[in-house]
């Protein structure tokens, strides 16, 4: 554990100090999350992590993953906070406030678990200094044990070994992508398909773009691909009213865009 290390310090216009303190202040409502420039915090953190990496500190990964969780939550929190709330008048406002508190609760919960994890580690370490007496049974007692009942033929025994040695199928994970592996759908591929189609005919509705999708997975992949295309300024959207058809316009010139531009995270097959 790295309790004694100096840790990451934040330097902002309105706050300078350890990251944990920043969280504490937000927790106690002494600092408004909207006044925290998360981009600045992130920049500083990246600098900090790079420095650690250069020093060859092995806990840089731990700290980086912790930061990501916290920063993501802060971002959620800030988004919730920035949405117009004003007077609590209707259910939507209340839902918004609840969302805000839930986000915050999530953050605090994470910090709490992190803290007790440290305590557990310390206890496990201290307890590890005691060794239980667990010695082999004295021979005269072992000899008293009832004769083993053994009914397995070598064949049955081999079947047992087969079952025990067979790799266990991985359970669906938190992100729930494992069950999607049946059919390989690539966001990149789908982007290419839609790119070609849109270059021939634009605009097209999202409904039309997914009309030939043979699985939900393809729909998801195309949706993600559209977001990517939008980010690359290859397409634009318009929607006349909420829940109306989404029209997708091709805005890149022919040949200006290629699916190779897609960010790395989507190169993997879903």
């Amino acid at each position: 554990m790295a309790e004694s290390k100096p840790g990451f310090e934040v330097r902002l216009a309105n706050f300078t100090g350890p990251f944990d303190l920043l969280l504490g202040l937000i927790a106690k409502h002494q600092l408004d999350i909207t006044e925290v420039a998360i981009a600045t915090v992130t920049d500083e953190f990246i600098k900090y992590i790079r420095k650690l990496q250069k020093l060859g500190e092995e806990w840089a990964l731990d700290e980086a993953s912790e930061f990501l969780v916290i920063a993501a939550t802060l971002l959620d929190l800030k988004a919730a906070r920035l949405l117009p709330a004003g007077e609590v008048e209707d259910d939507e406002d209340i839902a918004l406030l609840e969302a805000r508190d839930l986000l915050f609760a999530r953050l605090l919960q994470y910090k709490a678990f992190k803290h007790v994890a440290g305590l557990l580690g310390e206890t496990l370490h201290q307890e590890g200094r005691r060794f239980p007496r667990q010695v082999a049974l004295e021979e005269h007692f072992a000899a008293m044990l009832p004769e083993l009942v053994w009914k397995h033929t070598p064949k049955q025994f081999a079947a047992l070994a087969e079952a025990a040695l067979r790799p266990k199928a991985p359970q669906p994970t938190a992100v729930g992508l494992a069950h999607l592996h049946g059919s390989n759908v690539s966001v990149k591929e789908q982007a290419e398909i839609m790119g070609l189609r849109l270059q021939q005919e634009s605009p097209l509705t999202f409904r039309a773009l997914i009309s030939d999708a043979d699985s939900t997975l393809v729909v998801v992949a195309r949706f993600l691909a559209l977001l990517e295309l939008f980010r690359d300024k290859a397409v634009s959207f318009d929607q006349l009213s909420p829940l109306a058809d989404l029209a997708v316009h091709w805005t890149a010139g022919t040949g200006d865009w290629s699916a190779d531009n897609l960010s790395e995270e989507y190169e993997e097959h879903l």
Binding site: K28, L68, R106, V116, L120, L124, R133, A174
Partner: protein, 216 residues
């Protein structure tokens, strides 16, 4: 009443050292913690008598000379004022003899396996979430920790600290709980003895219900 009958007719009080020494003899062959009930049944004593003897031994090993007037013992000579090299502890609901922590560095040279490998921060955090939220699915642990915990959960299971606790009736996800080996390693009797989580939740006063309500 000296044993014609093969079992049960043994009077532990008639032997040198009496019931206390008999209890000690049994403690010597345990390879896992034994409950007061198991010990009482094996020794043909009442649970209360066993409990009193265990308390007496515990104090003796720690270096207190004891007189336990309410316990009938052949001789309450007790130990001297020096702690022994071992101690008797009630952990995970059972009693067992341990080497005293003071001698860890020396004993560690003789005990080759186990104990040594420390858990990483990621493993500790995952273990903490499972300990406090059990039975819990990996998905929920992941949601709290913000990262995928699959491989960490696997390792914790391999180390015997957590185990499968059936499946969630709704989602069908495997649920996990901590094991009695976890309690042993923590030196506590039950998960109720874990430190309370609430003091570690700063500024939580108003939103405590979220944790209990278990909504995230």
């Amino acid at each position: 009443m000296n044993g014609q009958l093969p079992d049960g007719a043994m009077d532990v009080h008639s032997l040198p050292g009496g019931a206390k020494a008999a209890l000690e003899a049994v403690l010597m062959v345990l390879d896992q913690p034994a409950t007061e009930e198991e010990l009482a049944a094996g020794l043909d004593l009442t649970v209360d008598a066993v409990r009193a003897l265990l308390a007496e031994l515990e104090r003796e090993y720690s270096g207190y000379t004891v007189k336990a007037p309410d316990v009938e013992t052949a001789s309450v000579a007790g130990f001297g004022s020096t702690p022994r090299g071992f101690e008797l502890r009630n952990i995970a609901g059972g009693w067992r003899i341990y080497s005293r922590a003071d001698f860890a560095d020396i004993v560690g040279k003789y005990v080759l396996e186990g104990q040594t490998a420390r858990l990483t921060q990621a493993a500790l955090e995952t273990l903490a979430v499972i300990a406090y939220r059990q039975p819990v699915s990996r998905a929920r642990v992941s949601a709290i920790r913000g990262v995928n915990v699959d491989s960490v959960v696997r390792t914790l299971a391999q180390r015997g600290l957590i185990e499968d606790a059936g499946t969630d009736p709704e989602s069908g996800a495997i649920l996990y709980r901590t094991t009695s080996y976890f309690l042993e390693r923590m030196g506590i009797s039950s998960v109720a003895d874990l430190p309370h989580l609430s003091p570690h939740l700063p500024g939580l006063e108003g939103i405590a219900e979220f944790y209990d309500a278990d909504r995230m």
